[in-house]
Amino acid sequence: MSLQRPLEMTDEQIHEAILREDASAQRLLYDKFARKMFGVCLRYIKQREEAEDLLQEGFIKVFQKISSYKAEGSLEGWIRRVMVNTALDHIRQQKMLWTDLSDIIEEGDEPVIGHEIGAAELMAELQKLPIGYKTVFNLYAIEGYTHKEIGILLGISEGTSKSQYSRARNQLMILVQELNKENSYTTK
């Protein structure tokens, strides 16, 4: 179990090495991004085994399509998009329930997430959301897609994406407030 990753080749060097068909470069690329991308997969897919399948499928696509990467954006960003698209392919097979915009959400105060709350805990909270909410929240808040793009990706309207997002956000805020409360009890 090593936390340290000694191989910090630049993305450019790894990309070039892969184009040269240097087998070890594929490994370098994988070692550099596997954990981060596994984190991405786990945000979309709750089950660890399914997320592993997703990671595997995503990386195979990455290696197959790396010649189409144009070194315009960051390599990490490109790999992440491949992963997210692969995740969405998985999710599309499941049935997402979309609610309409008629539900009006009251905006509460934005809770500040306590310093003691780590990514693993936030992940657990995120996973409590229904899959539609969770997916839209991931795409909009974490990955930075626009509602228009999300609409196209998920085959829903822009308005549905917005409404799903604000519901997801609201529910997450409630969950985080509860988490903050729990933590303040346990630390006292």
Binding site: P6, M9, A17, R20, E21, R35, H115
Partner: protein, 373 residues
């Protein structure tokens, strides 16, 4: 105050859970392109197909001609200086065996198995009984064309003669020829024409390794000690480079080498390939201690980061759950091992360093620190 979303985004930016090691094996088994393997790289790999389409048969024939001419030219030179080459060639071969062994251990055992199962690989084993020892690359007629042109063991038949082995080439299938150019590789049976040319060589020809424009690639050129740097060259396969990291440790031979710089300073990394020496600089701007013990005994109670004034850094220290414990900026960075007034637990902490110089991001680095109590 950051937006609610940003808090999530920041937390997940550092979320890098462990991945089951078996996953890479599963992935690598499904990858189309594996170098040092003519069967796989030629049959799959969209890039390879692209080259075939682009060059067509004429192009490949032209490449072959160029390669043949090059070989003939080199051969002529070798004849002139035959003895020296003959002395060198067995050593070259042995060392290249070593380096290909190294690279295969770095790649995967499963890839090796695949190689063994490939029809091309097995047929070349029939041709050359010694291929088991020398690895697949030695028995291929493998020509790589790049900015660097590497020609290795191009004349298998003659090479075998030199080793005193019979070469029943006419009965066995023609070995594959791999032409490599930048990102592509093509497998094509050697045409009878060029093969005839090869066999017409009357003089024994040693395996040739000609290298043009070697480049030294470092995994990183700057950072904080302990800084692990991997050096590799742009050459593939049977490379015998001598790496010296310039920090007083003994040099290393192989196709790649790793070194951890323990102290700040400016280092010159050199790499010698076939008599050509190339170098790159590595700057270690400072040092992050690998451990500290904030227990009040007066020894290593504080984690102090030393750094060069020329560089500006921000260091973030996280616990194992990804919780941010400490942010350090400025010229004097030290952490006393407390978090919100309480002692942080003993254990391993992860850090990220974001370094800027003249306002521009220069590097990011990760590492671990052990906290003892």
């Amino acid at each position: 105050m950051s937006r609610f979303e940003d808090q999530f985004k920041n937390a997940f930016d550092h979320f890098e859970p462990e991945v089951d090691p078996k996953l890479w094996q599963q992935i690598s088994q499904q990858l189309p392109s594996v170098p040092q393997n003519p069967g796989v790289s030629g049959s799959a790999g969209t890039a390879g197909k692209g080259l075939v389409a682009q060059l067509g048969i004429k192009g490949i024939a032209a490449l072959l001609t160029v390669a043949t001419l090059t070989i003939l030219g080199v051969n002529y030179l070798i004849q002139k200086d035959e003895k020296a080459v003959e002395k060198n060639s067995p050593a070259l071969l042995n060392e290249s065996t070593l380096s290909s062994d190294n690279s295969s251990s770095f790649a995967l055992p499963s890839e090796q198995e695949k190689v063994q199962n490939e029809p091309v690989a097995s047929s070349s084993q029939e041709i050359n009984p010694s291929s088991e020892k020398t690895g697949n690359t030695s028995s291929e007629n493998k020509i790589k064309l790049d900015q660097k042109i590497t020609i290795e063991n191009a004349l298998t038949g003659d090479f075998n003669k030199e080793k005193g082995e019979s070469t029943p080439r006419n009965d066995s299938p023609a070995p594959a020829l791999v032409v490599k150019s930048n990102s592509v590789s093509v497998t094509k049976p050697v045409s009878s024409n060029s093969e005839g040319e090869f066999n017409n060589q009357t003089q024994p020809v040693a395996p040739i390794q000609k290298t043009v424009k070697p480049v030294l690639i470092l995994s990183t050129k700057g950072g904080f000690a302990p800084l692990t740097v991997t050096a590799l060259t742009n050459q593939e396969g049977n490379v015998n480079a001598v790496f010296d990291f310039g920090d007083g440790k003994s040099s290393m031979v192989g196709s790649t080498a790793n070194n951890t710089f323990e102290e700040p300073g400016n280092y010159t990394v050199t790499c010698e390939i076939n008599g050509i020496t190339i170098e790159e600089k590595v700057t270690v701007f400072g040092k992050v201690p690998s451990a500290f013990s904030p227990n009040g005994d007066g020894i290593n109670d504080v984690l102090t980061i030393t750094k060069d004034a020329s560089i500006t850094i921000e260091i973030r220290i996280f616990n194992r759950n990804g919780k941010l414990m400490f942010i350090g900026k400025g010229n004097n960075i030290s952490w006393d091992g407390t978090f919100e007034g309480r002692n942080a637990d003993a254990g391993t902490y992860m850090y990220n360093i974001f370094a800027t110089s003249d306002g521009e991001a220069t590097f990011k680095q990760k590492g671990t620190i052990n906290l003892f109590r």
